[in-house]
Amino acid sequence: MKRPMTEVALPDFAPAPQAFPGVDIAPAGWRDYVALAKPRVMSLVVFTALTGLVAADTPMDPILAAMAVLCITVGAGAAGALNMAFDSDIDAQMRRTRNRPVAAGRISRADAAAFGAVLGAFSIMLMGLAVNNLAAGLLLFTILFYALVYTMWLKRSTPQNIVIGGAAGALPPVIGWAAATGHTPLNAWLLFAIIFLWTPPHFWALALNSGGDYEKAGVPMMPVVKGAKSTRLQILIYSLILAPLAVVPAFTGLGGPGYLAASILGGAMFVLLAVRLWRSRAGEAVEPGPDGLYSVKPGAKQARDLFAYSILYLFGLFAVLLVEHGLKAVR
């Protein structure tokens, strides 16, 4: 039987569903607008974009380089704001996200969408004016892919949501590279591939510990649709592909000896933690504790460890590249 096509709900900008109904809500402050831009996600985006820009090894006017980084930062904030505007119904139902400004009702969906659209337009326009059209086009594509393709469509319709949607998070180093050189060679796409393959183990490790929330919100995350066992196996498979791929830049002239060592040791540790998670019962049903007073989440530690380590791993790889190419530029 043919599967019916998934309906994509267009935003109607009705008042946001509040996570805390009946509670008196204070007007939004500047902190809420900062939160709307997802500063933690933004910091990783900026860091990887800066690495792409520096790794290109092309001299660039420092003011224009700073402008490129600023545009990518603001563009990432725009994508985050649009995501919160469109996803407030899901965010309001999940413990991790229910205090976000739109989900909690401090900022309306229309205001969040307008904030994101204006920031996005400014960042793309300035990128085109200050840097080049390729970087501006890639930035536009990234924002639209994240806000429209991932947030409005993939997230609600397929367990491959974060796999395909991960392309948006993987593009910043390519944008950085394009900003510095005006083109995107194979090495830039290698950085893209590393982040692209890193995304599923990173997110699914988090989802294994909050599968119940995703189910409640109707989000077809992998643990909800295929179950915890299949998700743990897929995490392991992605990790086994990621670890050797992350070593490749050391042989294409992108990474030096420091990168080679970091990618081999870091990748081995990544695989080790993925094997440990695969052997655990992470994401399985909660069990009653020995005395019946508390419940035990099996494998929660293994999932948490891989999630935390995955951030350190990606940060470490890009930091080594940044230092190696930064030192080359200084010399």
Binding site: P27, D61, M67, L70, F122, L126
Partner: protein
Amino acid sequence: MSDPFHEGQRAAKARRMRSWAIALGLIVLVALTFVVTIVKMAANAHHAVT
């Protein structure tokens, strides 16, 4: 009947702050565009000379 256009003190303050933030954002955008134009013009002039 309550006045639907009545704005509380907190809401008025928040609206004023938003207005200032928008004004500041526009000033920053104009300043950045000006700086970019100057840097690009200087680079073009340098290329023309060399």
